[in-house]
């Protein structure tokens, strides 16, 4: 199981096996109902590429603050 904390919102437990073969952090983001382009994924408070295979058991999903 991967613990996914959406900062400022909720924490969910996601079973990577439900996300298909070799799930990525982008897949994990979609599993908590966000689009990869609107968040950053942090492991140990460091951003990780969203196309990387999930290799941590605790991740933070940080909604980005940006605009024009």
């Amino acid at each position: 199981m991967v613990t996914v904390e959406v900062v400022g919102e909720e924490t969910r437990e996601i079973d990577p096996e439900t996300l298909g073969t070799d799930p990525t952090y982008a897949d994990l983001v979609r599993a908590v109902d966000y689009s990869p382009h609107e968040v950053s994924v942090l492991v140990d408070d460091q951003p990780v590429p969203e196309d990387r295979a999930v290799d941590a058991d605790y991740v933070r999903v940080l909604r980005l603050i940006k605009g024009g």
Binding site: V7, G8, V39, L42, D45, L62, L64, I65, G67, G68
Partner: protein
């Protein structure tokens, strides 16, 4: 409604003026409520947008550090600030497309008029809803 302490209000305008013509950005701390929030802390953030004169973007690591510092002080994250040095006095289309923090205040400091304007909008998840901005002196009751 968003209540700003006088010191935060002054700091927002000062930061926007210092960064112009680029957009400034930051994070507000205080007490967050569904209908009424109060901010008495402002943390300046770096604008890492590729074109900072027309866009803003917080660095995720810095954003998280600001938010954690606010929570470590026993406060809530109330919302976020950016400036429109040349207007408009409302959220832009880009602001609407990229908003993600449902229920939080998005404060915009506008500098295109004779006097600065500070407005605030709550992101409903679908649109920005303008809220009243009140400025309180240090002696005002909370």
């Amino acid at each position: 409604m968003l209540e700003l302490s006088r010191s935060v209000y002054d700091e927002l305008i000062a930061h926007a003026r210092e960064r112009a013509p680029e957009e400034c950005c930051g994070v507000l701390g205080g007490r967050q409520g569904a209908d009424r929030s109060r901010a008495d802390r402002h943390r300046r953030a770096s604008n890492i947008a590729s074109d900072p004169e027309t866009a803003y973007e917080l660095d995720p690591e810095e954003q998280l550090a600001h938010m954690q510092a606010i929570e470590d002080a026993g406060q809530d994250v109330v919302g976020f600030v950016h400036s429109h040095p040349a207007g408009p006095p409302r959220p832009s289309r880009t602001d609407e497309r990229q908003a993600t923090w449902t229920g939080y205040s998005y404060v915009i400091v506008v500098l295109d008029g004779a006097e600065p304007f500070v407005g605030s909008w709550r992101w409903t998840g679908e649109r920005f809803q303008q809220e009243t901005v009140a400025i309180q002196s240090a002696e005002s009751p909370t």
